[in-house]
């Protein structure tokens, strides 16, 4: 455990003196200074009782219910030996715990639970009345499908595990929870199916999570990813995120391990390869043949978006390389600005547009589109700034990028394309060839959590590769992918 987070101070216990407890607690969490923490004092059967709570994180309705119950108790019952037992008996809730440690009780309280101190008692009663502000499950924007479930993960880790559990009612499904972050005390959950997922992988991930020693994880899963997979300078995404519970459940059944971080709607899938980023839930909602077609279109689109601009630039700079059948390619008129500069301007323009589109409030989006498409494109050509072909290929590249299912991968590919364009501009054909080769070798050498990034293409696994090239019918898939080293490799009975 991260020493600062989990180490519970043994001496930090409640005293039997309620006044002293109150003084210590008031000092530690600043009751009176912070407006959102408070205490409600009342007398039950001649004993003083304190309710400590945080505004906004607990269901006030429920706290009122508890208070009412205790007031009835005060009115109707006579005092017996231990008032605390009488009080506990009347707490109408399923989750009631005894906590003797003050630090622990305060952490609970700051998570939205209430704790109750009774005069003359040295442990607190903690009642789970949490109710976090948040939205309901909605379809995630980045992973829409035409058919299929419309629910998506939310910012609430409890709802997220529930959404997973709703799809896998297996008794072997494990949700291990831990707190990470010395100040934020963020909940992180490791989900896997015991007996399917590789226990070594689970151990490695657990160890990496426990080793995180940071004050807070405000950027949630991204921070966790950076700690666990040690990204370095590699722009390519080495874990996959998903906001769809059905995708997450599929991966759990395949033997992957999920990490869910509280306050983030995306869960991390470990381990992932390059080819995990080019598949989409939509393919699995259509007939295998159609799914294959969709996938091929996407592959071709991605390849195009990566290579067409550098290649075209190369052909413009060295027309002798053009095959005879493709003679017509290349600008007919002379250009006012070097083609390379035009491409860079257009590329940066599209990137700018994309960023602007994210930050533009939706009522203005149409206006933005109008400005972008009509004014900039049209007029740039009319003025003689850009040749039409540049706009065509930059647009093809951009569309291919938008069709990439993984947003992270599309950004990485975009940067790679820019690098290739610059290499071509400087070194011409050798730049393109050597650049592509180095890029390929670089990808092949990436290994995250002991999984080669280009698996199953390199190292070559024919069956698994076939599964990526052709979307196979689910009844055909008898085995789990070997790359996750599943304990139980068989997914379903013989067909």
């Amino acid at each position: 455990m991260s020493s600062k987070v989990k180490k519970i101070d043994e001496n930090d216990v409640f005293s039997r003196d309620l006044r002293e407890n109150e003084k210590r607690i008031t000092e530690r969490i600043g009751i009176g200074t912070s407006f959102d923490v408070g205490v409600r004092k009342l007398y039950i059967l001649d004993k003083e009782v304190h309710f400590y709570f945080v505004n906004g994180l607990c269901d006030i309705q429920y706290v009122v219910e508890l208070l009412k119950e205790l007031m009835y108790l005060d009115a109707n019952e006579t005092k017996e030996n231990r008032v605390k037992d009488q009080i506990e008996n009347r707490l109408t809730h399923v989750q009631v715990e005894h906590v003797g440690n003050m630090g622990e009780a305060l952490t609970h309280m700051l998570s939205g639970l209430v704790f109750i101190l009774v005069e003359g008692e040295s442990d607190a009663l903690v009642v789970d009345v949490r109710s976090y502000p948040g939205r309901g499950p909605e379809e995630p924007d980045t992973e829409r499908v035409v058919r299929g479930s419309r629910d998506g993960y939310t910012e609430n880790i409890i709802e997220n595990t529930a959404l997973t559990r709703r799809r896998i009612r297996d008794e072997k499904l494990r949700h291990e929870i831990m707190k990470v972050g010395a100040r934020s005390k963020t909940d992180i959950c490791i989900s896997y199916i015991d007996g399917v997922a590789d226990p070594n992988l689970v151990n490695i991930i657990r160890k990496e999570l426990e080793a995180i020693d940071i004050d807070g994880l405000t950027m949630a899963d991204k921070v966790v990813e950076e700690f666990v997979v040690k990204q370095g300078n590699n722009p390519f995404p080495i874990v996959r995120y998903t906001e769809r519970p059905d995708v997450a459940a599929t991966h759990l059944l395949e033997g992957h391990v999920l990490v869910i971080v509280d306050a983030s709607p995306s869960v991390i899938i470990f381990p992932t390869t390059f080819f995990h980023h080019v598949q989409h839930a939509e393919e699995f909602r259509q007939a295998p043949f159609v799914g294959t077609f969709l996938r091929w279109v996407r592959f071709v689109g991605m390849l195009f978006s990566l290579f067409i601009l550098p290649l075209w630039l190369l052909m413009v700079m060295q027309p002798s390389l053009l095959p005879e059948t493709l003679d017509f390619i290349g600008p007919n008129e002379t250009t006012n600005i070097p083609v390379f500069a035009q491409i860079v301007i257009a590329e940066l323009g599209i990137e700018l547009l994309r960023m602007a589109a994210i930050h533009t409030p939706s009522p203005l989006a149409t206006a933005l589109g109008l400005v972008a498409a009509l004014l900039i494109g049209e007029i740039a050509i009319e003025v003689g700034l850009l040749v039409p072909e540049v706009i065509l290929y930059v647009a093809v590249g951009a569309i291919g990028m938008f069709a990439t299912p993984s947003y992270e991968l599309s950004l990485a590919l975009k940067m790679l394309r820019l690098a290739l364009i610059i290499l071509v501009a400087i070194f011409k054909a050798p730049g393109f060839i050597i650049g592509t080769t180095i890029f390929f070798i670089f990808l092949a050498l990436i290994k995250s959590l002991n999984v080669p990034y280009l698996w199953p293409f390199l190292p070559f696994y024919p069956k698994a590769l076939l599964d990526i090239v052709i979307r196979q019918g689910v009844p055909m898939k008898r085995r789990r992918p070997s790359i996750v080293k599943p304990q139980d490799p068989i997914k379903q009975g013989p067909a």
């Binding site: 095959p323 060839i433 080769t437 070798i441 092949a444 050498l445 190292p459 070559f460 024919p462 085995r479």
Partner: protein
Amino acid sequence: MTKELEQSQQESSTTFNGTVALIGLFGGLFWSVIGYVAFYLNFARVGPALALMPWALGDWKNGWLGQLVGILFIAVVSIPVAFLYRMIFAKINKPWPGLLFGLSLWVVIFWVFNPMFPGLKSLQQLDLNTIITTICLYLVYGLFIGYSISYEYHERTAHESEAIQS
């Protein structure tokens, strides 16, 4: 249950040699297709048909048919090449022997055996683009075959030792 076990054994019983052959075949096929693309885009003066040059086969070998047959020929020839790698480097589960292997293949074909290929100019006369393109192709070809075989070898031996332990 027994039936399932039998089947799972059957499925995993693709022998190591079979996998090596498959890796060679596919590696040859895939990278010679890429080689043909490079040839089509005039990056390299020689395409996959180069493999047919030592044989007198008639004029068709210089056209697109020659390239096609060249691709198939390279795919088949890659099987013994894969076995060659398996004999030398299979035990090193690292990518660099593959790159080295590809590079030495290039040296052997373009330098040592250069006179055997009538259509191939000597190294001094070859243009830079062709040299760079072919070197890069042989590098990734070697990496593909080498890394795949080493990884597969490593996986299999690791599983065997696991079986012994349990």
